[in-house]
Structures are given as structure tokens and as C-alpha cells.
């Protein structure tokens, strides 16, 4: 007999599995989109610097949707990504400001 709780867990697992598939799909699609065409070095730096925050937002949605012990790993990864995102955004801001110093 399936209790309400276990059926809820099953549903949660199913939805989180779909989420992971969709996140993977999104990342593959982003990779394809960025690989088309000629990017300048500047554009590539932007893309690289924004990739981490984008991944953080995607995983953030996941982390705040699925709570519980089973999803501890996603929380850990999310916080690591959050720190990395802040770092990469700060680096980008620093590069842009540094660039301005050379603009005549």
C-alpha cells in the first residue's frame, strides 16, 4: 500500500528528475547558441562571466523548489555557484572599469 507521504516523495523525485533533464537541456542549448557565429574576444569574456550567474539562477530555482535532506547536495552546489557568480560578476565589473581607464 502506498502511503500519501511516499506517493508525494515519488512525485517530488519525478519532478526533480524532470528539472535536472530540463536544466541539462538548457545548458546544452546555451552551448549550441554560443558556438554559432564568430564571437570577438570581448564577447567571449562576457559569455564566460555570465555563464556562472545563469547556472546559479537555474539551480536556485531548483534548490528553492525541492527542499529536504535528499536535495542537500543541490543546496551545497548552489551556494558554491552563488559565490563563484558573485566573483565572476565582480571580475567582469572590474575588467569593464579597468577598460574605461584606457579609454581616451
Amino acid at each position: 500500500m502506498v502511503t500519501e507521504e511516499t506517493s508525494g516523495d515519488l512525485e517530488l523525485n519525478r519532478q526533480s528528475g524532470i528539472s535536472m533533464l530540463l536544466i541539462t537541456g538548457i545548458l546544452i542549448m546555451v552551448a549550441i547558441l554560443l558556438s554559432i557565429g564568430n564571437s570577438t574576444e570581448d564577447e567571449q569574456i562576457y559569455q564566460l562571466a555570465l555563464l556562472c550567474p545563469v547556472l546559479t539562477i537555474l539551480l536556485g530555482i531548483y534548490t528553492f523548489t525541492y527542499r529536504g535532506k535528499a536535495f542537500l547536495l543541490s543546496r551545497v552546489v548552489f551556494f558554491i555557484l552563488l559565490v563563484l557568480s558573485l566573483l565572476s560578476l565582480f571580475s567582469l565589473w572590474y575588467l569593464i572599469e579597468l577598460g574605461k581607464a584606457y579609454a581616451h
Binding site: Q15, S19, L22, M29, I36, N38, L58, Y62, T65
Partner: protein, 222 residues
């Protein structure tokens, strides 16, 4: 089948929307970029040493409306060589050039020439497919233009075109500031005294470079 199998929670709905938007954007980008209609090529100008020109404008209008540039260093730096230019290995594929926008001043006849020349796109495409990846814009005397295409062993003539000379107007004589025609020629051309003396004597004055094979062809046949 459980009825909830078709249901997505809010998170998954958001992911689906993002994925759909990305898929649409990727499809649009692929169709717009047209990688199947792009080629590796490089374009350089060339002029005979005895008819120095100073190129003001040498742009290509590409099939997607983008602009690309013709290399003019060897001509403008006073080191021209008929049929040779300065090439670099292209690192990106570009759409086909459809028009050449050319403007230059010619030292010996003290004339200005400018025109937009439509390029024979089909012939150009066939040549590129056959490995003719160097395009040379030859600026002969008397306003004659010849465009060659070249691979490692062969050369073909893509087109010949003649431009009528005109008197400079507006910014035609702009070189750091707007100059008179005489000042312009004095400023942009840095010719040594031996060349100037040769020109005074009329060396090569009856030459018709549009009919002179490029030095590349001369080397091939010798």
C-alpha cells in the same frame, strides 16, 4: 497511468519556457548565420609600382549587409607590386562579398576615382568552392580595375571595370584635416626622388596595366 504524469510543477514550467525560448533563439541564429553559405577568403588591393595610388576607401558589402575591409597596406605604404597584395590567413568564415566600394587618388594623373562595383556573385562562389581564397583588387592606371582570384597554383580574372575620374569634392581630400588637392597629393604620397624623376621622364606612361598579367601569372609562365 497516474493523472499527475502530465503535470509539471512551477519550476519545471519555468525551465520549459526557458528551453523553448533558447531553442527558438538558436534556430533563428542558425538561419541568420547561414554557415553553409560562408567561405574562408581574404581580400587585398594591389597596384603597379609605376602608377602609385592612395586608397581612401576599400570596403566590401557582404550578402548579410555587413561590411568587410580590403587590405590596403602594401599599396598605401608605398610598396606596391602588380598582382600581389598583403594577405593573412582568414580565421573566420564570412558571407560572400556582393559589392566593392572603392575610392582612391592616383598620383600620376592627379585624379580621384570612386565607384561601387557589383561583384559577380555566382562566379565568386564557384571560385571560392574551388579553393581560390585570395581575392586581389588590382588598381591599374586610367581608372581600370581588375579583380583576380587565386589559389596556390592558379589565378583567374573575376572582372574588369573602369571608373571615370572626378575632381575631389568635400572630404575626398581629408587627411588629418581637409586639404587642397595639391596639399593632399603632397601629404599622402611619400615617393622617393628617383621615382619622382622617373615619373617626370614619363617612364611607363603608355603602359596599360589592365592588360598586364599579374606578377603571379608571369612567374607561373616563366
Amino acid at each position: 497511468m497516474h493523472i499527475s504524469t502530465l503535470k509539471l510543477n512551477i519550476a519545471n514550467k519555468i525551465y520549459v519556457v526557458i528551453l523553448a525560448a533558447l531553442t527558438l533563439a538558436t534556430a533563428y541564429r542558425i538561419l541568420q548565420y547561414k554557415s553553409w553559405d560562408r567561405y574562408y577568403y581574404d581580400v587585398s588591393a594591389s597596384a603597379p609600382a609605376s602608377f602609385p595610388v592612395y586608397i581612401r576607401t576599400a570596403n566590401l558589402i557582404l550578402a548579410d549587409g555587413d561590411e568587410s575591409w580590403v587590405r590596403t597596406n602594401s599599396v598605401n605604404d608605398g610598396n606596391p607590386y602588380w598582382g600581389y597584395g598583403n594577405f593573412e590567413d582568414p580565421d573566420t568564415k564570412e558571407r560572400l562579398p556582393e559589392k566593392l566600394v572603392l575610392g582612391y587618388a592616383s598620383f600620376r594623373d592627379k585624379s580621384f576615382y570612386a565607384d561601387t562595383i557589383p561583384l559577380p556573385v555566382e562566379a565568386l562562389k564557384n571560385a571560392l568552392k574551388n579553393g581560390y581564397s585570395e581575392i586581389i583588387v588590382g588598381i591599374a592606371n586610367k581608372g581600370n580595375i581588375i579583380i583576380w582570384m587565386r589559389n596556390e597554383e592558379n589565378e583567374l580574372v573575376l572582372l574588369k571595370h573602369q571608373i571615370k575620374p572626378h575632381e575631389p569634392v568635400g572630404d575626398d581630400t581629408y587627411y588629418e584635416r581637409r586639404l587642397s588637392k595639391k596639399e593632399y597629393f603632397e601629404n599622402v604620397f611619400r615617393l622617393d626622388s628617383a621615382s619622382l624623376e622617373d615619373f617626370r621622364k614619363g617612364v611607363d606612361k603608355d603602359a596599360n596595366y589592365i592588360d598586364t598579367p599579374s606578377l603571379f601569372t608571369q612567374r607561373l609562365t616563366n
